[in-house]
Symmetry: C2
Amino acid sequence: MTSRAIDQLETPALLLEQGCMKQNIARMREQLMRLKVGFRPHVKTAKCIEIALAMSGGTPGPITVSTLREADYFADHGFTDILYAVGITPNKMGHVAALLKRDVKLTLILDSLDAAHVLAQAAAALPMPIRALIEIDCDGHRAGILPESPDLLGVAQTLVDGGVVVGGVMTHAGSSYECRSDDALRAMAEQERARTVLAAERLRQAGHAAPVVSVGSTPTALFAQSLNGVTEVRAGVFVFFDLVMAGLGVCSVDDIAISVLTTVIGHQRDHGWTIVDAGWMAMSRDRGTAAQPVDQGFGLVCDVNGNALTDYIVVSANQEHGIVAHRDGATGKALNLPVGSQLRILPNHACATGAQHARYHVVNNSPQITSVWERIGGW
Amino acid sequence: MTSRAIDQLETPALLLEQGCMKQNIARMREQLMRLKVGFRPHVKTAKCIEIALAMSGGTPGPITVSTLREADYFADHGFTDILYAVGITPNKMGHVAALLKRDVKLTLILDSLDAAHVLAQAAAALPMPIRALIEIDCDGHRAGILPESPDLLGVAQTLVDGGVVVGGVMTHAGSSYECRSDDALRAMAEQERARTVLAAERLRQAGHAAPVVSVGSTPTALFAQSLNGVTEVRAGVFVFFDLVMAGLGVCSVDDIAISVLTTVIGHQRDHGWTIVDAGWMAMSRDRGTAAQPVDQGFGLVCDVNGNALTDYIVVSANQEHGIVAHRDGATGKALNLPVGSQLRILPNHACATGAQHARYHVVNNSPQITSVWERIGGW
């Protein structure tokens, strides 16, 4: 299995440049060390034990998950300090209890009195304490309680009254994906920090210990100049990076560690099209660069060695067909590669493209596959 | 397992209304019987043995697949007459040979001299014949050879010279998804028929038997008024239908057989938002209705029984979060449902949403789950 080269792979197939990934991890770890803050990597991008271990520095450490299925899987592999970073619901409490019973230190999140009552009720039925962070809205992007809201103290008190441990606060500055300059990213990082620390201070003034102040997104983590008052950073997509991150200026295209290996299956020369066997099933339907200054279609085309063919993108995708063309649409500029030629396609969004695949074919700046790493999915 | 009701499911979870699916299948089978044409359902939408059997009338029949993984899986379950409807590449010929060796009647497709040479070369190394259809471009949408092209006869002759059996021709009128009226759909169905029959006639005039004339898309199959000269129809998405099909007028919203069960996890009342635990991982990132007159966001919201709340859609989606709001954006019109309430979300594109899930929870116009059917993915 591991002695194959990529020209022997059936396409489409997901490739991972391990050296590139290691550099991305080192960059994030160095940044967080410089800022003197803890790291709780988000494993929802990779969903793979080998990669989570690399993100954690070689041995299991604190992680963030997006599903309880991820919590099960990473707990099976020795990760015991897990933050489940999606608001909890009653239908998941049985699953939560099963994780707590196997000695996983699982932390939940919530952002409403409703959910606080759900947790309090569940806590009453369990022999071990439930631990939760209160989600803070730092940017109007999605979920969370505003730091100034009276609900913040009401939720904390409801939890305490119900026997739930209030671990502190957490936020995610999702709006950072819409920033259009380095200054805007730095300002968003500071806003994320300041708003979340403010919420923690209000809880502490009301008598809650609230030791944890958890923030995180890849852009704010890398652009933060200070994280005073923050105890841990969550970030995930940095491990691979992607075209959305490159469009934000957070990384370069050369830093992108995953790509989809594909094969030319035909041409429509009148249209300037090259047809490949990577459609949306292999790339995902993510069009995250559509709102950016440079729209990369369904992905940026590279030669088989991973060198970007800067002006060629997947302009259209069906389930198992991709249409590669010059980005200016010129019919005279088709790629003239014979049927059977291989290409690599860089993804708009690493989380979405990764999720379409069951495994990573690991390479190291060479066509030789050094490992095959499985990944999980589902709930 | 099968005695559960949907309120006991961990969300998000994929639901399948079996009665609805049966009606959709009956409609397509009756239409094709009326048109006196064979049926080779595309199983790429469902990727599930129970559903493929229902599409085939209860016992294995001819099917169309989009991956060789599907061919393996359906062959394991007794389907032996399989059309692999994506242009073939050299790196898949070992897999093709393995399928042929287990007595699967696998038919390949191609649309170029390059690919004809690949097949001829592979055929020379195999003890059994390879059979192929030539893909025809009927609408400028994606792949295929124009019916009038000299390449058509060149490809056929290259195949014959290489010992490959020329089964006939096939096409897919992908442009039907962009039609905006019943008349346009009828015209596209006739164009698909006429262009493909023309190609078959040219092959026959040149001395090839070319017995198979295969066409198919759900909209053209349902709007065709005559399929004279066509021998079989391929269609897949009709089994579930979806919001894109409803937007085309091919079905009604009530005909949509799959939905994603989700739970309210919070609210942002200042924005008019209800936050649910179905994000793009559960819905896919497909935005197929964005180009239609009615944009359904990432999906149309229904109550837990499946009754559409016509004005509520998933306006935004992150990996495991969906934001539900009124389609006019009015903040005063938020759904006021407590945390823990369940909803169903209808998909833009059944193929894409289905692919995000490992199984169907089958229901019959009731909250009781009658079966759990597994589905496959990958390549």
